[in-house]
Subunit: 244 residues, 6 copies
């Protein structure tokens, strides 16, 4: 790795400033306003007693997620998907990623026949919105589960959370692997990877993409090292928010 600083002065293995404002919403059963630098995502968890009809009677719960960007969260305004009348491919893809990531740390039997919907709405976007969404959604989820237990929708002895989960992006820019890309870095990256990791350091998702230049095995190894390092810090932020 070269030793030049990044555009915002960070080292290559440094996260942007992270803040988690737990309980931002007065309405939702769990919520967090998370920021990774200028990226801000409002995550809410909606707890419903019961499951969709097709799942009913199996003694298991369901966790799903929806991701969306406000039209002017970005540098130039995007058309609303509601106005276009359809959800775009990128939105679909990220919603599915967030849902799978959270389900990976939930024991659906322990959840019981309850449904949790995680809404991740990007209020401001500067790269890494999907990873911030996952990290913030975990905090909202944890609070919604606590709410469900308090309301006795979840059995007292049940432990629906099997681990915590966070996510971060990594990428290779001009041959240099870096952690937590801001938007200006992201657009210049040869390879871009989103990594979802549990609190115990296991992988939930590894999504690496090389539009500009295919990457080899050793580059992949370096990226995974960076991501695992970032995940330790993010897990720490989550734990402090949930203790606060």
């Amino acid at each position: 790795m070269n030793d030049t600083r990044r555009i915002d002065g960070r080292t290559n293995d440094e996260l942007r400033p992270v803040t988690i404002e737990r309980g931002w919403s007065d309405q939702a059963e769990g919520s967090a306003l998370i920021s990774y630098g200028r990226t801000k995502v409002l995550c809410t968890a909606s707890f419903t007693n019961g499951v969709p009809r097709w799942m009913s009677g199996k003694g298991k719960g369901w966790v799903t997620a929806e991701y969306s960007m406000l039209p002017r969260s970005t540098n130039s305004r995007m058309d609303r998907e509601s106005v276009k009348g359809k959800v775009g491919g990128r939105t679909h893809e990220i919603s599915r990623l967030v849902g799978r990531s959270l389900r990976a740390v939930v024991d659906m039997k322990a959840l019981g026949e309850n449904t949790i919907v995680l809404d991740c709405d990007v209020l401001q976007a500067d790269g890494g919105t999907r990873t911030a969404a996952i990290t913030g959604a975990y905090v909202a989820l944890a609070d919604a589960l606590a709410w469900g237990r308090e309301k006795k929708f979840i059995a007292q002895k049940a432990q629906p959370l099997t681990d915590s989960v966070s996510a971060v992006s990594v990428g290779i820019i001009n041959g240099v692997p870096m952690l937590d890309l801001a938007y200006t870095e992201d657009v210049r990256a040869d390879t871009d990877m989103n990594v979802v990791v549990t609190g115990r350091g296991k992988f939930v998702e590894v999504q690496g993409t090389a539009e500009a230049a295919p990457f080899d095995r050793s580059e992949l190894d370096t990226l995974l090292d960076l991501a695992l390092g970032g995940a330790i810090t993010l897990t720490d932020f989550q734990n402090r928010a949930l203790e606060g």
Copy 2:
């Protein structure tokens, strides 16, 4: 009027606490995060040099608005309109109201061939979201116009703003007219009226609806008095935010 206090201790002619966080967004040309009590609306103004093709060549600008609610801004989660694949009637109706209200204080000739889109996204809803959206959108609009002038898209001598504009709801609950209804008041109202007023005290919109009980001329007069009173206070908040 009776003299009992309201559920939140306000008098009948009292607004909820109002805050306007101007410049909330780093991305938009103008923005404001406005709150009327627990109701919070993020308003952004997107300035584009040029107008839609069908308006081109007439030397006039265009101002339009889109209103939307986050799925869990409300007490129970609503489905996203993007997922349902269509914009609902209420959303359409409010988007149109916000756009008309702002256009009422813009001189389109002075704006020149520029377009401003106002996005009003309700982050938390507790009644009065459409009126908060109008009041906040005015602040975002004013900043976007200042930006356009600075960038020389608007002529130096042009005065696109002809007045300011704010909005507030009024209603009759158990026969008592009240200002700025919170959600729990709104659902119990016999008559509900949204009033949009300029800084000089003229009406832009008067939208009164009586599903539960038709209202007579004197009730209408009382409601208009309350609304005009509220508008004076709101105009003051706007002016202070824009001076800040």
Copy 3:
């Protein structure tokens, strides 16, 4: 007010010729083809025993409305909303207005678990289509209620209609308030207001809009006077149609 006649020779407080052809449809439980001058709206009322599932078991009925314009009801052809694949904002807004207006004079308990859908299809448009729709829909509604009683879906002693309802537009053109604007007047109006009034002279809806020039309190008062006057005449037309 100035004393010059209007483009079609009317005085400022004069309605266009109104006709109501009751029972136009052989199929619907109630129907009326109403005209306000060249504006023609076919209103049908469809009576169904039962209510949507979400309302079931509460002993109350439901009244709703849909408004639409034929593609060539207007001077230049509009695309069909069915072909565009979505209902436009204006259509949504008017459908909701018509529904609310009619519900304001129906006692849902007295209606019992029955549903009435009012379809208002504009066959020819020359201004005031939404107000004609409301006035005509009342006639169709009254006949559908009579049909429901005859078929014993409504209890013999029940009085679902609490009042009658009609609507008319008023506006200010070149500073002059006028009643029942034709299309050529409507497009030149500084302020345009639709007023829905019960047979007893109470307001159900007051929707005033000032895109061109905000209006003051005394202008508003004059407009309301004109509307109340027009409503008396319209109520008379409705009563005669229903007696005929």
Copy 4:
């Protein structure tokens, strides 16, 4: 054939009463309100100078059609296709049939670069709506062409109409071939055929369908005889309307 009269007293080769109210619309360039018994269809022709971009520069015109039913044109109310967000298969199929049928009697070169849209909206349905639509649309089309010539959009010597066109349904009920089926007959028919015929007696469309019982060659021959007979009468009605 048996000699018993039909439910409405007609003989098997008799049309229902036909009326054509030419020029019903004040707005369209051509229009006709046609009735076949209780079936009523409002046909308008919208003339536009110019053609869609993909046809431009070829010196040829375009004629197209859209068919639709009002929601309560039928015995029980249908949902609106605009509300459902898509045009149904039957509507599509009939719109295409009407368009093809009218194009069959138009010389597109003689029409020049002009577009005519025929809107056929069923106000009341009692069987045979598509055939009434074609017969009525021809009258609207003829008037729109006359309008185009008067406005000099069509060359003075050009003869865009090569023939007239009308349509009628025929069917076999309990083994008996019959002309112009009313709805109660149509639902009982073994075979149902719509036949579009020019004024000179040639076929434009023959669409025979046998859901209940396949038909043989001699039955087909009898049906075609009935249809050709009906077409002569319908052509006569069209000619009289256009002379009137």
Copy 5:
């Protein structure tokens, strides 16, 4: 008729080479990959025990069909209807035709409360895709019925198939009637007719269309003769495929 050979060397009453690959799919209860010359259609029959709720309890089954073209089945690529967000008129029309044609040879009482969906996907298109779809779908249907009997969803003595069914196109090109038009012939045809015929030689559908030139009774007769001749050969192909 003239005696010149066609572009591909066929005589006017000659079909293109027909192949039927029965049981192409490992997944469906019945399937056939059929080709009429270069036209290739994959037909699958999906058997479900039970019927849609609105048909339930009547002791009758349901057969329906969906037709679709792959985007590059044609000479230039078409947009996918899924991406456009709606099914086009032509697709709707053909799906309905295929469904009606197959239902004409099924005794719904004998089928019992079972549903069969026929999917006809055009892999390569060179004219006559809808007729090939019908002919191939019959083979898939026959196998799905055999499967249903084997699984005891259909009573052992029941005979759901009342006949076989096949389809072929005929048309008039430069005044010459021809059988089974390839695409290059189809686009030049004055009249184009699709004829659906049972194995016993009765008509199920006759759909003749004359955009370019209306046709007379004797031309119609010749076309029907050609179609009946082609149907005999197609029935033979079906029988051999089902025996194989």
Copy 6:
């Protein structure tokens, strides 16, 4: 690893039988019908001279892809996305993956202002459809590029292809890593990974997902080894198909 054979007798590092039928379509500029065991995907490449308007004038080309499944490609019939009126999340996600994978081996400058659309339609599905689609689409792409060169839309010296590309799935079942999962294996996998690799052995995409059980670094390493091994064989199949 345990040494028991898989359900179909393969070893853990063994691909299913692969066949590539190059030039399956008579219509497309490039095509391949590829099978991985019972999974069959028809891949076509449509070459268009020119690029979408927003890319025009930059001297660069564009490659995109659409993936879809026939409704009865699977064990139980799925509804068509065209009928549902929207493209599902999974379809969107895979279409984007296929497009990115192919773009990774195309030099857009060398392609010049030409567009290639890859359509991958799954005719039969038994696991691994997205990976088969990528491997087959490469063959179709190579032929379309050769066609473009022959037609002189691509410069003679230009080398648009920078490498070849193939894809394969790997997964962990009961703790055992395996190559190229069939459907019955896929549904039982704890971790499922799709890996896209160039002919030179570099990664284009690594997409690993752990819904059932998070995976550690050494498991990830084993999966990548299996995938790289499979890619060598697949590259060989591609080369032989293109030489054939």
